[in-house]
């Protein structure tokens, strides 16, 4: 009995600490989300309050939506994300398959080249990459936003590791049945490596969605901006004016991400942590 009581008190303290920590971590987000529902008079009133008077005051969202083309920004991010994802999947599964199964002469060397390329940080290559884009006239195009990120050495590595676990005999048996290397990859290897591929897809899409420095450099028109650049420009343009509208703009950009995260949290966590954590 006494033991149980002690345990209950202990978990009560733990709950208290967790609530306090949760509020601290959530506070910036909550303040912004609640702020987007505040009228100008509420925003500037002193002392500042966390909660708005009403959650049905949507004027800020309407104004933000009219002030900046958030629809275009979000669409651009989705287009770039999906194209990058498709390209990454095709190009890197092909390469990983050749490295793990076909192994043509010299492939070991090329594989090592990819792996050592992982240590080159993107900041090192950004200036010449920009000059290349300029030379090809690709500044301010989807191609500039997508092409540099299609080879994904980490993805090649993950797939390579998984493909290596598939015995060589599989392919030989398939070949006797008249199945060529392309068909073997598409109809056998890829379906059985679904967990690896889905983790890779999530990482690729998230990286693409969050990318900032490169799109900032290679886009210069409104119709090409992705969501992170769009929100930054929006804030610069509205700086100092109506904070409620600024917060509404930020909420518009962040809401799709949070919804997607909450829906796919399990997969998300698994992809990032490589399994082992229960949500």
């Amino acid at each position: 009995m006494k033991f149980n009581q002690e345990k209950a008190i202990k978990s009560l303290w733990a709950y208290l600490a967790l609530c306090l920590l949760s509020i601290t971590v959530l506070l910036p987000t909550l303040f912004m989300v609640f702020g987007s529902f505040k009228m100008q008079s509420e925003v500037v009133s002193f002392p500042p309050k966390l909660f708005p008077k009403s959650f049905f005051y949507l004027e800020n969202f309407v104004k933000a939506w009219h002030k900046a083309p958030f629809g275009i920004y979000l669409t651009n991010s989705v287009i770039v994300g999906i194209c990058t994802l498709l390209g990454v999947l095709i190009i890197n599964t092909f390469a990983a398959y050749a490295f793990s199964h076909i192994k043509p002469w010299g492939s070991k060397f090329i594989f090592l080249l990819f792996m050592s390329g992982m240590i080159i940080p993107p900041q090192v290559t950004v200036v010449p990459r920009y000059m290349l884009m300029q030379r090809f006239g690709l500044i301010d195009s989807y191609a500039a936003l997508i092409l540099p990120f299609l080879t994904y050495p980490m993805g090649i590595f993950l797939l390579y590791q998984f493909f290596m676990t598939v015995p060589k005999e599989f392919e030989e048996a398939a070949r006797i049945d008249g199945c060529g290397p392309f068909r073997f990859l598409v109809s056998i290897l890829i379906p059985i490596s679904r967990p690896t591929i889905s983790a890779m897809s999530i990482l690729t899409f998230v990286n693409s969605w969050n990318r900032y420095m490169w799109p900032l450099i290679v886009t210069n028109s409104t119709r090409m901006r992705t969501a992170p650049i769009g929100i930054k420009m929006f804030l610069d343009e509205t700086e100092g004016s109506h904070l409620g509208v600024m917060m509404a703009g930020a909420v518009i950009v962040i809401t799709p991400v949070i919804i997607v995260f909450l829906l796919g949290q399990k997969h998300f966590v698994k992809a990032l942590a490589g399994g082992g954590v229960k949500g």
């Binding site: 709950y15 930054k232 998300f268």
Partner: protein
Amino acid sequence: MSNLLVREKIGYSNIYKLSGYLFILPALFLFCVFVIYPAISSLYLSFRIISPFGDRSIFIGLKNYINLFQSNNYINSLKVTGIFVLYTVIIGLPFSLLISMFLNLPLKGISGFRTIFFLPLAISPVMAGVIWIFLLNPNIGLLNHLLSVIGLVGPSWRTDPNWALPTVIIVTIWKQLGFNIIIFLAALQNVPLELYEAASIDGANSWRKFVKITIPLISPTILFLTITSVIQSFESFGAIDVLTSGGPANTTNVLVYALYKDAFVNFRTGYASAQAYIIFMILLLISVFQFKFMNKKVHYQ
């Protein structure tokens, strides 16, 4: 008949091997164009001075590097980066570990709490910066009001030269929480419960159990996260751009931000390329250090 079969087999296997190059080609081509060539080109450019439109350039040897190390601004950037990285890691990791230990308790509704702490994971560095702008606003933000309630006068975070760097550090720690907590939690879940039970029987208190069991068993994870968060903080750009743009008075002008400004605002391509290689060398050193350290000092199960 059998000869024919052998010949066919050789023919097939040659075609098969050759098809391998086709499979590698797209990845290799793009990799050469967007990684290998720029990496070499960057080194080449770092020895030159280039006109703003890139049409003329002159070889100047190590002059760009020498200028950098003689520039007070660049020395300042090195210092700022060092402080920034050090504090995000030294404060961020223990804080993440503390939260992970709470999240590892067998409590009802714990998965709801986990979702809350995983959330910063979904938010990009830029959005993290944006989110904090409002809370930190000296006039309408809640934070300074809360500080005034306990009798403190909050600074004007982003524009105060003394507070801009701490501001960026706080936001970066917050942004990295999600990832750090997930990885720590995975490690904590792998520590066998029997060890704690055995220690309890021996009369060990919680602190002793933490120091003698938890820390040694999760040490590979601690090292892994130290390295990843050092590299991530080192490469920070988005949050800094949104919060302070490297200012005020260069107090948050980290190396990556300085590179960006010299390359794409001041158009000093050669000078920026030299900075790129200095960044590369520093990151390379960190990787080498990690590789050496990882094999020696860490306890593996």
